[in-house]
Symmetry: C2
Subunit: 1000 residues, 2 copies
Amino acid sequence: MTRLEGETEPSPTHSSLLIVSPLGPQTMLTAISMSAIATNGVVPAGGSYYMISRSLGPEFGGAVGICFYLGTTFAGAMYILGAIELLLIYIAPKAAIFPLEGLEGAEAEAALLNNMRVYGTILLFSMATVVFVGVKYVNKLALVFLACVILSILAVYAGVIKTGIDPPEFPVCLLGNRTLVWKTFDVCAKTIESANGTVTTQLWRMFCDSPLLNATCDKYFTANNISQIQGIPGVTSGILTENLFGTYYEKGDLIARNYMESAEDQDDPLTNANRYVLADIASYFTLLVGIYFPSVTGIMAGSNRSGDLRDAQKSIPVGTIAAITTTSFVYMSSVILFGACIEGVVLRDKFGEGVHGNLVIGTLAWPSPWVIVIGSFFSTCGAGLQSLTGAPRLMQAIAKDGIVPALRIFGHGKANGEPTWSLLLTACICEIGILIASLDAVAPILSMFFLMCYMFVNLACALQTLLRTPNWRPRFKFYHWALSFLGMSLCLTLMFLCSWYYAIIAMLIAGSIYKYIEFAGAEKEWGDGIRGLSLSAARYALMRLEEGPPHTKNWRPQLLTLVSTDSEQNIEQPRLLSLTNQLKAGKGLTIVGTALVGSYLENQEQTQRAEQALRKLMETEKVKGFCQVTVSSNLRDATSHLLQASGLGGLKHNAVLVSWPRNWRQGDEHQTWRNFVELVRETTAAHLAMLVPKNIAAFPSNGERFTEGHIDVWWIVHDGGMLMLLPFLLKQHKVWRKCKIRIFTVAQLDDNSIQMKKDLTTFLYHLRIEALVEVVEMHDSDISAYTYEKTLVMEQRSQMLKQINLTKNEREREIQSITDSSRGSIRRKNPAAVTTQLSVTEEPVAASKEEKPEEEVQLIHDNTTPTTPATPATLLTPTEGAKSPGEQVQMTWTEKCDGEPAKPPGAATPEGIKDIFNMKPEWENLNQSNVRRMHTALRLNEVIIKKSSEAKLVLLNMPGPPKNRSGDENYMEFLEVLTDGLNRVLLVRGGGREVITIYS
Amino acid sequence: MTRLEGETEPSPTHSSLLIVSPLGPQTMLTAISMSAIATNGVVPAGGSYYMISRSLGPEFGGAVGICFYLGTTFAGAMYILGAIELLLIYIAPKAAIFPLEGLEGAEAEAALLNNMRVYGTILLFSMATVVFVGVKYVNKLALVFLACVILSILAVYAGVIKTGIDPPEFPVCLLGNRTLVWKTFDVCAKTIESANGTVTTQLWRMFCDSPLLNATCDKYFTANNISQIQGIPGVTSGILTENLFGTYYEKGDLIARNYMESAEDQDDPLTNANRYVLADIASYFTLLVGIYFPSVTGIMAGSNRSGDLRDAQKSIPVGTIAAITTTSFVYMSSVILFGACIEGVVLRDKFGEGVHGNLVIGTLAWPSPWVIVIGSFFSTCGAGLQSLTGAPRLMQAIAKDGIVPALRIFGHGKANGEPTWSLLLTACICEIGILIASLDAVAPILSMFFLMCYMFVNLACALQTLLRTPNWRPRFKFYHWALSFLGMSLCLTLMFLCSWYYAIIAMLIAGSIYKYIEFAGAEKEWGDGIRGLSLSAARYALMRLEEGPPHTKNWRPQLLTLVSTDSEQNIEQPRLLSLTNQLKAGKGLTIVGTALVGSYLENQEQTQRAEQALRKLMETEKVKGFCQVTVSSNLRDATSHLLQASGLGGLKHNAVLVSWPRNWRQGDEHQTWRNFVELVRETTAAHLAMLVPKNIAAFPSNGERFTEGHIDVWWIVHDGGMLMLLPFLLKQHKVWRKCKIRIFTVAQLDDNSIQMKKDLTTFLYHLRIEALVEVVEMHDSDISAYTYEKTLVMEQRSQMLKQINLTKNEREREIQSITDSSRGSIRRKNPAAVTTQLSVTEEPVAASKEEKPEEEVQLIHDNTTPTTPATPATLLTPTEGAKSPGEQVQMTWTEKCDGEPAKPPGAATPEGIKDIFNMKPEWENLNQSNVRRMHTALRLNEVIIKKSSEAKLVLLNMPGPPKNRSGDENYMEFLEVLTDGLNRVLLVRGGGREVITIYS
């Protein structure tokens, strides 16, 4: 876990403290998050991969795990390269296959890299062999390596103390303020005063064209003096102040001493560059962070060994945090002590060219440089071995989880569990790193992978803390989501700070793996927090929605589709689900429910079978939603309960889809149609909309495509706009896309049907629904009363449509009124302000209703005088919902300028509705009125057949059921007559609230 | 909407095209989004504010609306400043109160600004008066202003054409490549050849110490020549190529001509700076974008007038898009033509100092500069008037919506609706802008506000498109969420590009307003998309959760609390909700349900009353969740339905909380306790956990705080860990925080109770639950069989706990097995691999069950031999759920290394459970066994009383109900005896699945 800096890093610059300092908190925060996760139950081997995959799911776990594996592998490559670099430069420079001697600049660099490639490959091969032969040798060597590290650290500290007493002889030769490569000369001076007088030195000959004193020399050489300074002036020299502030270099810049004067001509080109010590790479703060970062990547080492610890829950936090504290102390103190002991130019001279190629830290160390050299070599070898041991095991763990099918082979191993294939893969990837050869090119890549891993450990901890599942009970108590979040942000910042392009590349890699696992990986359920997040999100969203019913603008059909099952629990009306699917353009909720008769305890098998049948059918028909099977002692209660208890909070159904009871006249279906009429009553009471397809078997399947034809809407009563919205929703589905919408409305012969059509067209234009409008004229006296009523209503509508073009002032008030009334409750600011033209309609009716005895109301069809325009009431009833006081109606498009709700066409004030459309003539009285009603139905049916017999679908208002149950059969009969001869009919009944608005 | 550049902007630099070009797409995309929103129904006056507030809710609407208001107001200030600048510089320079003559540099600038402040205030005051007097005058003036703009544009184009034929005389005087301020000299030369020989000019005297030819002159003056060039060389001169690439200046830089040589000494300090034309502000790309941006802020003008348009849905898209196309064309062509006609140094000379203070564009225009000057002046005045008219109305709209209480006063107006207070506020804010005076300092602020507004218009469109509510049916079809998203990103990018600090300030302002409205504002429901988003999110999250039951790690208590109501629909057990609240640490779902007897249609009133009572109580007890009232013809069905149909998808309850039926022995409560036992049966069948508090009235309210005491758990059967988890959850609540958990387990005298305690302690340690463990020894023979069974189970447990310290290999396999089995179904890979020590327990029991006749099983209590350890079965039954084949059990902590589920302590294999704990001895047989059972209960009760009588709460396993209903009464009696004398008891029954795990 501890690596000595200076081993394989470029010599630290003076802002090292700045580089080291952010990594302390970052690793500490990550360690805190990791400790929390690691102490929240047993973490078997797998370390961070295990933690992330079990906290954030297989996709994140896999992506990050593979990245972490790559990071570890590249780290292995880096360790091997470091060892080779030490070997070739300090231990055995003679061993170089591509000789470095005599080469300069780029060539020397290339030769060094080639040497490293060759030796790196050899070392990798031998290490892989050791790992393959037996992991126990690796473990034994670990102790040796630890000893090496400790010895090296102690040697450095001892050396620092020694510099205070007796600084080592470590000269650096400067020309002006430039450091010279001290290789081909011996004396650091231009001339030597020898017996023969002043003699030029080897150094002179490097810069001048002849050894003579009057030779032509390099300008800079002439202008500046040669000086020899102490490379390690010692801790007491006060060099620290000079080294305190950093200087960054571009690659190839001269390493110059700060605070030293130099006679330099700006315009003069640099000559003899190869004589000077040059910066080997461009150094800037963020790059150095990236290069330095791998030194602190060891924090996971403890948790990765979780499987081998006796009490992981205690050891991981203590061990990790102690380790971070120790390393932080060692790093910080080293940076300060190096800065205090060593000359800046020496610190920046990576290969020690200015100091005869000596290892600076070696010279500093006491008693011998070899402690450092050998120690470093062995510890890098050891770290490499550890990487080569750990990485294949991590890969094996990922492969065994089976989340990435392509990696399955790497789960296999030797008989003793050693992961052979994994090791091979690791060695191959490691070899890539070695072929890149340049340490500083490899380091940022792996930094990214490690940082990403840390980021996700932090994320996992933050997420789990915020979700507060009962299972989140870490023994380690000193965590907080804010700390984890901060750690996560720090990781992300560091990633982009180090190298934004590497960061993006690393993220792209992780993203690709994520997508691959999502697409091709085995689905695993490990109880990850993402699922917990869904739960919390769903709960939160539902709670938020509970506050009130959605606004008209947010209205979506949330269907409760009621299907019935036969004795074998097969669904009797599969096409009902096709229709549900075709209506799903609204993207709302769908609940498919069925009612069973029996007892919950005894009919478990049937329940399950019914549920399975439902699910299967939903899958076939591609209906996304929930299913609900209810068992009760009787069908009536079961159906009622489905209506009452389905859905949750804001996700309650707002419309019921149920098919017309076929063959209801047959005696044995008695219960079914009684139940149906009761259901109509209950949906009305519950303010739900109702859709009743008749002849459901003839409805198209989802595969059919109508290439032409019409959807015909017979718009007789406006009860919330469902009739307008439904064809629009259907047209969003492929089946109905090519159909055209036609809207029929009924007018009397002497009506101004042209104006009526125009008005309706304008209304539809404002609703942004494309439809053909047709006004049908009927001249039957039965119908005439109805149409007369329509005319009045049309006048209101015209009035309303005119109001759309209000003056500005009025409009502003209108917005205000919408704003107010859309809160739900209609406030009657000024009851006297009901407009006059409405009173015309309203009051006589109210009078006729309340004052006239029952019989007259029943005979209302014969009455054609303008004062009793209530006929349609006997035909079609709007929602009862509008009646209840304080009820939440949102007729936003029908608002009037004084805050009063205006009348929608075909409707009246909430009070008016009650009066005009109330179902007073009871269905059960088989008297004249009932016969007339049937007659009306017949006539209307005739007209509909005439106009819409070729239509693909006919939508009709559905009248309300009679109050008295004895009229139920007449009611059913009436609906039969009304829809007779039509192929597909959808009876629609509004839910007492506006579902469509002309406002944005 | 259209403003001529060059009017009030700094002369365009050559990268103007670049500045102009990104704004084209950005405004176009915003216009598309806006068109979509504006054509989705009627948009009354209020424009963008209305659209955003109705799409994204009052918080966003208010925040953005106020920002937009500020933007419009500052724009007004900018227009007024522009007008004054034109007035003071070009129309009537003499009018300056603070004379500019003779002042130089900063002083001249300060004087100009002061003049602008004074005149600006005067103009603002007069404009505000005009607006206050009557908006109709403003509207009439608008036509005049439009005419001015068109005339100006035409004049410029005409002028450009004229330069091709006859370029105007427009000389610029250069010294070297520096432009000279042409004010105090007449001839552009150093000397003039006059009759008297060479005479020095006025210019000479500006740079030299004497008019003599041998005078000492400014070095630069001496070194460079004077040249006079054409300021407007004309469109045919090819100057465009020179102007093609931009040069940016710092404030105070010299405006120098490109591509012109200049003899300059770098080291020489700049002298006579005031003689040269200097850059008036630092110009860089992003700043210029910010300054230029207000020119394109007019795109909302059309939609803001939506109220006054006849057919807004058609006019807004057509008008806005046509306007953007026109302005883009005018801007782009102007930039190109200016670049082609005018010399670069002239373009950069903002105040025309180098050209005698002439207006460049005026000189370019044909026939007269006054067309431009007067046109510009009037059009800026007009724009200012428009801002002063529009902004107060916007403020009034916001104030009238009432979302910001502090602004309520600004909703009031004069009798004719004119917003007096708003106008006053607007004038005040405008005055601030005028006092800032510098146009270029004001422009970026308002750019930010406008950009933010556009961003939100785009966001609103993208959100609505993605949500796909049926109400989203824009007539304008050419929108797409990706376009809106792109527009949004462009807006955000532009904000930060222009000036990141202004952007952050603008966002902070908007954020503060948002928070203020959220905190103090009236709650408004306008059907905004955010609510629609909640709905979609809830639906999506629930669908996601439907896939399967949550993992043990994600298990939270999702309570269904069943309460009963009295005849007045008051809740009978309010403390049940207190307990629910105290358990809510799990943050799971809560559904509070109650069952009513009656008919849904006829008992609506009672239903509503019960629901209100529930909601009220939930509010009082701070229980966040949902309530559900079910009406049915009988109590049994209603209760059963609550159990069956509550919740939705993944948010179904997993535990039922119901209070013990008090006084169940009394005859009239017969139905209640029968229902209770049935409920126990049904929860078992539904695999739900069950919590039954006894003596609920004695439970603490949420306000109480126990300062000491214990929560005692009597851990007799392990049925999923509920008993362990519940006290942990309770301890998260303030009421129980200070209580300590004690866990009691029962051992036989000759058991190794020390080992037992140690094992249990270890187990709890791994569960991360802090509790005191106590092993109670009992020596009754009845109990002994039970404790013997325990011992065996403890052996299993020890075995299990040992497995926690598996070797690495084994562990890895174990993880795999957990992985596999946690998918839900327990796969029996190798049925023969059941470990031996388990068979010891298992097989004899199985044998005893299957082979022995019923009677022997009933007398099992007397049997103390190790082969029949089934006694506890008669006492406590684990979940029946474990029995059903293929059932999804997640006993992750009990997994064994071979993929077999190990036995949890106290339980056995799924088959074993059935055999050991089955309720064979029927409760209804009042024979010896039943008496014995009662005896056992008495004994256990004695022990519990002895140990836990002082405990604040006692948790006990709850045995399963008898299979045969005739034993129900005995069952109730047994539970009474078991819990007799204890103050607060919570009977707990697991739901057949593990709820707690030792794994991370």
